[in-house]
């Protein structure tokens, strides 16, 4: 018997494969392509307290082996999510992780309370890439004190496991990981998109209406692998690794770097079956390499030290 189950912040997952927030909608868009209970857990699009319209079009453009997006956290808001979407999500027998964001520390606190009392949510992923309106629009996740403050108030407002989602757009991601864990995060997920830009040389203007966007896809994988590697050495909590996972081999690379679980993101846009294929591919890898427990992969590339 091969074990594919992993434990993440107290939740037991049947396998280490999650969906990356924002790339899998609210799940039902993909339920017509495969059985969502095949997944380790479902992570839905980031929610904010009030509905958000998001950015004007165009919101995406392609780059070699990657894409830039500037969706701008379009979402129906907490209330409509709880009333209209959450009841449908409950029908899938798969752990549910809800991603929350806010433009102020208070908004994160309110979101944590609302989602906790909504019930049937297994964990909160705290997206700290959102700009802090009070601090002049600097993303919470880029300043250690601000990142820690958000996690601290979320901790005070929920008894659900907290996953802090980290941005790679910092000089020292391991340093941020350390402070959010001290502040109460039970796990960390990384990386969010890498900020970038494309200019149309005919129009001589940025392609995206928002000018800058977040780069995702295979192009960012080495950055993400490096980030997971560094964070693994800095904190003891489980890591959810993501960034350009297109197939099982990529997921395994993340696990070897130190990820306990992985999330499939942009690949879902290219192939709706991508996440399911990664689940199957990991099983095949374990079988063909005579590995009896997927947990043996976690951090294995670090070798034996001390």
């Amino acid at each position: 018997m091969i074990n594919t189950a992993v434990e993440l912040a107290g939740i037991k997952l049947k396998n280490p494969v999650l969906t990356a927030s924002g790339t899998f909608g609210y799940g039902y868009e993909y339920a017509r392509f495969f059985d969502l209970s095949r997944l380790g857990a479902l992570v839905v699009k980031t929610l904010t307290l009030e509905p958000r319209k998001g950015n004007p079009p165009p919101r995406i453009t392609e780059t070699p082996c990657g894409m830039l997006n500037a969706v701008g956290l379009e979402n129906p808001g907490a209330e409509r999510f709880i009333r209209e979407i959450l009841p449908g999500l409950k029908q899938y027998p798969v752990p549910l992780i809800v991603s929350i964001a806010g433009c102020s520390v208070e908004e994160y606190a309110t979101m944590a309370r609302l989602m906790t009392s909504a019930g049937s949510i297994d964990a909160l992923e705290v997206n700290i890439s959102c700009p802090n309106v009070k601090a002049g629009g600097i993303a919470f996740g880029t300043v250690p004190e601000m990142a820690a403050e958000v996690i601290r108030v979320v901790r005070l407002n929920t008894d659900l496991p907290i996953i802090a989602k980290l941005t790679p757009n910092v000089t020292d991601i391991a340093g941020i990981a350390v402070v959010v864990v001290e502040a109460g995060a039970d796990a960390v997920s990384l990386i969010n998109t890498v900020t970038g830009m494309v200019i149309d040389i005919e129009r001589r203007r940025p392609v995206l209406a928002n000018q800058v966007g977040g780069l995702s896809g295979p192009a960012i994988r080495p950055i993400a692998i490096r980030a997971v590697w560094q964070v693994y050495r800095a904190v003891k909590v489980p890591i959810i690794g993501m960034g350009g996972i297109m197939e099982a081999r990529d997921a395994i690379e993340f696990m070897l770097a130190g990820a306990r679980a992985v999330a499939v993101g942009t690949a879902n846009l290219v192939n709706p079956l991508a996440a399911d294929n990664v689940v199957r591919g990991i099983e095949e890898y374990l079988a063909s390499h005579g590995i009896s427990d997927v947990n043996e992969l976690v951090g294995a590339a670090h070798g034996k030290e001390d």
Partner: protein, 262 residues
């Protein structure tokens, strides 16, 4: 219902300046496709380009399980696609989106196409013909070289009025202007249009003037094509004036009065 099919290519050849006709075997898609829906194609086996490309369905052959599209080579993805050989396979996701809705009681409709906007309207024309709804087709191209040979558009061929921006074929000027010269004289109950956004916008103004209801098929850059990533937004009428809709899942076809033009 949508499907992911490794479809065998039946043909893929040039039919006009920079324009290709592609047919592939995908019985599941052919079985359920409706006019106005699109397919989302991978143009490479590698991750460069990474995303799929949306193309409107030009026609289907249910008996042989074939799906046809018409595409213009404009960049990397369509450029690579034009090199796919018959007998090889293309990865297709579809049919996707909400297609055209036939208005109850319509007897005579106008189909207005800019460039390869003609593709989804060919499919629609066939359906209208089956329902004995009379359709007049207005097709605008930049120049005669982009016009398609009549045998490529079998169902449309006998009812098509051409316009070329450079005057090299048919009416000299935009297809919207051509349509306007008819709209005043001939009674249409409804119109359907597909093409570049500026053309559709101009058409919406003309249609409003003549109190002509209709539907337009919009284009926007797409990620998933299935409504999940929110990358393909367009403005439509909503609660506080306007809201964003998803071209891939709420459209690509929208009632003209619902679109808030950029």
């Amino acid at each position: 219902m949508s499907f992911i099919v490794e479809a065998e290519i039946i043909h893929n050849h040039k039919v006009a300046e920079g324009c290709y006709s592609l047919a592939f075997r995908a019985p599941e898609i052919a079985e359920s496709a409706q006019p106005g829906q699109f397919v989302h194609l991978r143009c490479s086996r590698t991750f460069d380009p990474l995303l799929r490309r949306p193309l409107g369905i030009q026609g289907i052959d249910r008996r042989d399980g074939l799906v046809k599209v018409l595409y213009q080579v404009v960049g990397k993805g369509t450029g690579l696609l034009s090199g796919f050989e018959p007998g090889s396979r293309v990865n297709v996701l579809g049919p996707l989106g909400c297609g055209f809705t036939l208005p109850a009681g319509a007897r005579r409709v106008a189909l207005i196409a800019g460039g390869l906007g003609i593709a989804p309207l060919c499919f629609l024309y066939e359906t209208l013909a089956e329902q004995r709804i009379e359709a007049v087709v207005f097709h605008g191209v930049r120049s005669a070289g982009q016009a398609l040979a009549p045998d490529l558009l079998p169902p449309v061929a006998d009812r098509v009025l051409m316009a070329a921006d450079d005057g090299s074929l048919g009416y000299h000027g935009s297809v919207v202007k051509l349509f306007e010269t008819y709209a005043g004289q001939e009674p249409f109950d409804f119109f359907f249009a597909a093409g570049p956004s500026p053309m559709l916008r101009a058409l919406s103004i003309v249609a409003k003037e003549y109190h002509l209801p209709g539907e337009v098929s919009l284009e926007e850059r797409m990620g998933c094509g299935i409504g999940a990533c929110l990358c393909c937004n367009c403005r439509t009428r909503g609660e506080d004036g306007w809201r964003y809709s998803r071209v891939c899942a709420d459209g690509p076809v929208f009632p003209v009065e619902e679109v808030v033009w950029p």
